[in-house]
């Protein structure tokens, strides 16, 4: 069962009071062991119907573990330079947050889902503010804390309405009860609308969906880079799981134009559009690469949400695959930004100028990651975009009342062109400059491992994605979606 994973990580947590980077390696081993245990335990359930280990949770657990692994592996520079005395806490908190994510992805009930989300974010508040002497980092921590706490409150408020309407917190039961209420009274009324809006806002903050995105660039810029990476992949994936569980499972009946005003589909679609536009347009103006990647991650979530609102087996599978592809490319890109920062102390895009001459491996890897994020074939990011757009066009072409999804695709396509501009801008700096860079970045073993894992992922799952696609197409089974 998945509780094993918990035990292993907690055990890991207690043994790390020693000093030295052994702690970091120990946490990596802990993650691997957890992954191994995950791979040998089958599907099942615990505490009656509170926890499920189903295809969806398994898929996302792998993503969380991968994100934590890569974040920890990119942290060795920081831990040996800046936070020598608190390594144990640093790695421990990352692991704790990962436990929260895994907890969340298995839960099948609103309260444990909420607890999982809190367990995910509270360690991250601390991690964001980990550089105690750095104003930006402290600011990031506080900002993230305030916004996070606020959004949790919204979410909890929304959940309480749902409980009030259905009398249960179990998602499957909730789905049935709500459907019955709906059929009996024809219209549940404004309470449900309010609840949907609150839930959407709460999760929207976690996912940094505009208009709830303002905290993102500041927090990413201020926090330690590996933590920003972890935030952008791990915590977003966790938010997406929460979204999928609440909306695509619990509220799945309230989707589609005939459900207006309770239809959450169009509202979410609007947020996805905003995310793609805001993220991609604002990223263009950034001169700090971490802020640029923050905006880019806002946009990427916008693309993922297209798959969500397609509300189909294909859509859910595409969401899974997208996050998977995004994991490798984004963790890889952030990893390289972290190594560059360890060496040079700078996050300005301009300081990457001429890097291809002094550190060719680094430059080419970063280019590959960015091109994957931009969706250039044959990299994994392209297939992910293809898959997401496919799900939307499938939904739109099979039912005329969803033809608004063509607009989603349209916005996605046009903003993808914008996104290429800012990704290519970094590449331009690295390659087109005639002067060689002042910096030369060499790697440690863990740094190398991040880059290699990222590159292998980006290429392998772009060229031979079949196994992951199969796995991803099993995700919808968790919600009873049948592929057509």
């Amino acid at each position: 069962m998945f509780l094993w994973a918990l035990v292993v990580i907690s055990f890991d947590l207690f043994t790390k009071r020693k000093t030295g980077s052994a702690v970091g390696y120990l946490s990596l081993v802990g993650l691997l062991v957890t992954g191994f245990i995950l791979s040998i335990t089958g599907y099942g359930q615990g505490f009656t119907t509170m926890f499920f280990n189903d295809p969806m949770s398994l898929f996302f657990k792998i993503i969380f573990l991968g994100a934590a692994f890569m974040a920890i592996a990119s942290s060795f520079g920081i831990t040996s330079q800046k936070i020598v005395n608190h390594r144990g806490e640093y790695f421990g908190l990352i692991l704790l947050s990962t436990v929260g994510m895994m907890f969340l992805s298995s839960s099948n009930e609103l309260l444990s889902l909420y607890i999982g989300l809190e367990l995910t974010t509270i360690p991250l508040f601390v991690l964001a503010a980990f550089f105690k002497d750095d104003k930006l980092s402290v600011e990031a921590g506080i900002k993230y804390f305030v916004v996070g706490a606020f959004s949790s409150a919204l979410l909890l408020y929304g959940i309480s309405f749902l409980y009030g309407l259905s009398g249960t917190t179990d998602l499957v039961q909730l789905k049935i009860n709500l459907a019955i209420t709906h059929l009996t009274f024809r219209n549940i009324g404004l309470i449900l609308v309010l609840s949907i809006v609150l839930l959407l806002a709460g999760i929207g903050f976690k996912l940094a969906l505009p208009p709830f995105h303002q905290w993102t660039p500041d927090v990413y810029e201020g926090s330690p880079t590996p933590i920003a990476a972890f935030l952008s992949v791990g915590s977003k994936a966790a938010g997406l799981v929460a979204f999928a569980k609440i909306f695509l499972n619990g509220l799945s009946a309230f989707y589609g134009p005939e459900m207006a005003p309770n239809d959450w589909g169009k509202l979410t679609g609007l947020l996805a559009c905003l995310a793609m536009i805001v993220g991609n347009v604002l990223a263009i103006r950034q001169s700090n690469i971490k802020r640029m990647l923050a905006y880019s991650s806002i946009a990427q979530v916008g693309y993922i949400m297209i798959g969500m609102v397609a509300m189909s087996a294909l859509g859910l599978a595409s969401v899974g695959f997208y996050i998977f592809a995004y994991l490798f490319a984004n963790m890889g890109a952030f990893g390289i930004v972290a190594f560059f920062e360890d060496k040079t102390g700078s996050c300005q895009i301009a300081s990457y100028s001429g890097l291809s001459k002094t550190s060719p491996t680094l430059a080419i890897s970063l280019s590959v990651f960015l091109l994957s994020l931009a969706g250039i074939p044959p990299l994994a990011g392209f297939l992910a975009k293809y898959y997401v757009f496919a799900s939307a066009i499938d939904a739109a072409s099979s039912d005329p009342s969803y033809s608004w999804m063509y607009w989603l695709v349209g916005v996605g396509v046009v903003t993808a062109v914008f996104s290429l501009y800012y990704y290519a801008n970094v590449i331009k700096n690295m390659y087109f400059a005639t002067e060689p860079s002042l910096y030369r970045v060499d790697f440690s073993v863990p740094a190398m491992s991040v880059i290699v894992i990222g590159l292998v992922g980006v290429f392998l799952f772009g060229l031979y994605p079949e196994p992951i696609l199969r796995f991803a197409s099993s995700i919808p089974l968790s919600f009873g979606f049948v592929p057509h």
């Binding site: 291809s356 091109l371 250039i376 074939p377 044959p378 392209f382 297939l383 293809y386 898959y387 757009f389 496919a390 066009i393 499938d394 072409s397 099979s398 695709v409 349209g410 396509v413 046009v414 993808a416 062109v417 290429l420 501009y421 290519a424 801008n425 331009k428 390659y431 087109f432 994605p465 079949e466 696609l469 199969r470 197409s473």
Partner: protein, 496 residues
């Protein structure tokens, strides 16, 4: 299963890229010759396929050398599926030839040699892929992969405004491609059972609702028209050409532009005949505008390379005009001839402009005069290709333009074709004026007294192009036999 010839043509350059990347960057000589060897191998292979196709397969319109369809990504019905017919074989031939020629012409690249050749071989692989892919996804992958090395080739080794030109090219083409992607997805979900097989979808297309056909057709048209480039989508072209290094310009003009017209003929034309019929007049108008506009703008250019670049817009306009006359086999054959001949001639012209620029470090037409005295061989070759470009009988440009006019006159609006013929006169004007101002007249001894003559390597690079230009001009029959069966088949498909 026979030997996978087409895969080899695509993947040999890719292998070459890997090998080049493994050579230490100090060994410039090894890098150059290795890349040349790989591209020559791909060239010989594409020649052999052309030869064999001509004798064994050109009688029918069926795909030859078919590889696959093999399952690649079964969950999404994506296949690995290659094949060639009468319209892809000449393009493959041209790609093989021009790539080898360009690599030979790139031996004077001094900085970052290793990266340059690695990117070049990647570019060659992707171009080959576009011309042989029969699965939409595969086609799209090759189509897009090409942008990346092109972006780097222009951006790193280009002229003063290289960064602007590179990103403009990249964004512009990506913008078009994404339209194509949406169209592909719409087609995929319309087909039953879902498929991405181009040949299969050609059967599906005409059965689609009219509006959907129009939407898909227009999306495809935008994607391909940007590549051609059809006026008003042409603005990336002069920038890219002027900033790109010589060999990249050759590839850009010789192969990349043809991808647009090739893709129209391969994909969107036979797939949506109904939409094609209702829009053909507008397409013809765009073609004629491109012809006249390109020629007029060419005339006003002070920069020699820009002149050739705009002449490309004009010459590709002839292709579009011919494509608008889709019911005439002659016009379509003329289009194919024009694609090949423009590839050879303009490729050579860009090479020659590069030769001059390497020596004189300027491309300003007004800076020269009377060079015919100093560099007679160079002058001779340049005049030869200019004549070919303006459509002198006996060379390939004449054959193609003649066929286009004969074919489209019977089908299209006669006034429109009449205006297009004026384009030939305008072409003669700017080319002859260029020759006059550069090679004739007063010779500036003080400035150009030490101008060296074209060297042996450069002559070797342009010689095959000259031979083919004249060969096609004098004896066009083999080329037309190569593709006639396929073109007839296409015309039948478009008449549905």
């Amino acid at each position: 299963m026979s030997f996978p010839f087409l895969s080899s043509v695509v993947f040999v350059p890719l292998l070459g890229m890997v090998v080049v990347m493994l050579i230490p960057k100090q060994n410039v000589w090894t890098i150059r010759w290795t890349s040349l060897a790989f591209s020559l191998f791909a060239m010989v292979m594409s020649f052999w396929i052309t030869w064999d196709y001509f004798f064994n397969y050109s009688g029918s319109a069926a795909m030859a050398y078919v590889e696959g369809p093999y399952q690649w990504i079964p969950s999404l019905n994506i296949q690995y599926y290659l094949g060639v017919d009468g319209i892809s074989v000449p393009m493959m031939f041209l790609t093989g030839l021009l790539s080898a020629v360009s690599i030979l012409a790139s031996f004077n690249i001094k900085i970052r040699v290793k990266e340059y050749f690695a990117f070049f071989l990647l570019l060659e692989a992707a171009m080959m892929g576009v011309f042989v892919a029969l699965d939409f996804f595969l086609f799209y992958v090759f189509w897009e992969v090409m942008l990346v090395p092109m972006y780097f080739l222009i951006g790193v080794w280009g002229g003063p405004r290289k960064e602007y030109a590179a990103i403009k090219f990249f964004l512009y083409t990506l913008f078009g491609s994404l339209f194509m992607l949406v169209s592909i997805l719409i087609l995929y979900f319309t087909s039953e059972p879902h498929t991405l097989d181009i040949m299969g979808l050609i059967q599906v297309g005409p059965a689609m609702p009219h509006t959907l056909q129009m939407v898909c057709f227009i999306f495809f048209f935008i994607a391909f028209a940007i590549k051609v480039p059809v006026w008003p989508f042409h603005t990336w072209l002069p920038d890219a050409h002027v900033e790109a290094p010589t060999a990249v310009s050759v590839i850009l003009a010789g192969v990349l532009l043809k991808m647009g017209t090739y893709a129209m003929l391969r994909i969107s034309w036979p797939m949506f005949p109904e939409a094609l019929r209702s829009l053909s007049l507008w397409i013809a108008v765009l073609g004629v505008i491109a012809i006249i506009y390109g020629a007029l703008v060419s005339m006003a250019q002070k920069d020699l390379k820009k002149l050739v670049a705009y002449s490309s817009v004009s010459h590709m306009g002839f292709c579009i005009l011919a494509l608008a006359a889709f019911s005439s086999v002659t016009a379509l054959a003329g289009c194919m001839f024009q694609m090949v001949s423009h590839g050879l001639i303009t490729g050579a012209l860009f090479l020659l402009v590069g030769v001059l620029y390497d020596r004189a470090h300027t491309r300003e037409i007004a800076a020269f005069g009377g060079l015919g005295v100093k560099v007679p061989v160079y002058t001779g070759i340049m005049v030869l290709f200019s004549m070919a470009s303006l459509g002198l009988p006996g060379m390939s440009g004449f054959v193609s333009e003649f066929m286009i006019f004969v074919g489209s006159f019977g089908v299209l609006n006669k006034v429109l074709v009449g205006i297009a013929v004026l384009g030939v006169v305008l072409g003669a004007t700017y080319l002859l004026r260029m020759i006059q101002r550069i090679f004739l007249g007063e010779f500036d001894l003080a400035r150009w007294g030490k101008l060296p003559e074209i060297n042996f390597r450069e002559i070797v690079a342009v010689a095959p192009l000259a031979v083919l230009t004249i060969a096609i001009g004098v004896f066009p029959k083999p080329l037309s036999m190569l593709m006639s069966a396929t073109l007839e088949h296409l015309v039948n498909l478009m008449a549905r």
